[in-house]
Symmetry: C2
């Protein structure tokens, strides 16, 4: 009774790249970045290591595929019918924000995604989604790439930072308590070396992640409008 066999998984439901990637995402979600190993994967899929290597070149490719699958899903629920491109940009950004929140390993992955495959599919996907709205915003054509890139950079950076916070906490932890602790540490830093940190310790403790993230988006949007939208 105690030694219940763990998930015999319907006997051989035909291995496939998709099933492997899905299992990888599950492992990453439940066990964290360190939880994705070929041994855990073979056990969960009731197969051998070689079988996985038949469908996937190596671990890096598997991670890329997992990232791509999750990002694609997050961007699939595109906001339709929103009149203001600004609202659409906010919606796309929040979609990624939530995806990273649900799959914290995405943060690290997205940060290093760019360093891998030059023809990586994740970055173009995100850039395309944001870029269309940048164009709709009326940004000068020669600044399309710049404006879209800055936005994407902020979105990924901001979402990643929040995921990091969430990860430190771990599931079920008390966010207020955690922020309180960090805030205390900040308040006790050397007043000569860290005057600013001390001054914002309280703001840090009371800030709302989502609100702050959106305020950052608006800030970038404001800069884009001021500098790159003619006649504003």
């Amino acid at each position: 009774m105690a030694t219940r066999a763990r998930r015999p998984q319907r006997r051989s439901e035909a291995l496939s790249r998709e099933r492997i990637v899905a299992a990888a995402v599950e492992l990453l979600d439940t066990a964290g970045e360190g939880g994705l190993t070929f041994r855990a994967l073979t056990e969960r899929l009731a197969t051998g290591a070689g079988a996985i290597y038949w469908h996937v070149a190596n671990k890096d490719e598997l991670l890329d595929a997992a990232t791509d699958a999750v990002v694609a899903a997050a961007l699939a629920v595109e906001p339709t019918g929103a009149a203001d491109p600004r609202d659409e940009i906010r919606a796309v950004a929040l979609g990624l924000f939530d995806a990273i929140d649900e799959h914290p390993w995405l943060a690290t992955q997205l940060a290093t995604e760019l360093s891998r495959s030059p023809s990586g599919t994740v970055t173009p996907r995100i850039l395309e989604s944001i870029g269309r709205r940048v164009r709709a915003l009326g940004v000068r054509e020669d600044s399309w790439f710049l404006a879209a890139t800055v936005l994407v950079q902020y979105i990924l950076g901001g979402a990643a930072q929040n995921a990091a916070n969430a990860r430190v906490l771990g599931p079920g932890a008390n966010r207020d308590e955690f922020l309180g602790t960090v805030s205390k540490v900040w308040e006790e830093l050397d007043p000569d070396e860290y005057p600013f940190i001390r001054a914002v310790a309280e703001q840090m403790r009371d800030h709302d992640d989502r609100e702050q993230f959106l305020a950052g988006i608006d800030l970038v949007l404001s800069g884009i409008t001021t500098l790159y939208v003619p006649g504003e």
Copy 2:
């Protein structure tokens, strides 16, 4: 002759945390993120594994220490005497940009730094440096934390993205050639799925990393001024 003993290192110059961290930085710089192993480290320092563990708790702590050392050095050359806080912010940002450019492993490290030690020293260091200038800019007090955080997020994200590009290239590679290749890939994407990417493929090919990074800083600064500096 062929089997020259590699660096006997002046026989026992007393191991210390600093020497270990310095060796770690060297290894990371020369051999990349995967190059930092305890075996390589023991060889370079002509010692045993246990000796290193006497000075450093584990690999994560070693990576944190290496990151901290490099970031501290980058921020140490603080711009003095610049009249405009905007110029100072640009200088600090470029300092980090160059540091990540010199030590590409910093990008990944900084992206995940936040997820580690809540009392991490790297983030406060950067936030402090940027925050002081944000204050000098005349930002409303209740928006100090927000404005500084957004700036730091953009700086780290932007610098990381550039480091990623540099890393894909590898030392001595031809940047123009690389961008040309990626640009070609972008131009050949599905016109229905990726109209924006196709439209900016050329801008991407011709963009200058540093220029673009600075333009992003100015964009964020413009947003901060518009939204959070009273009377502007």
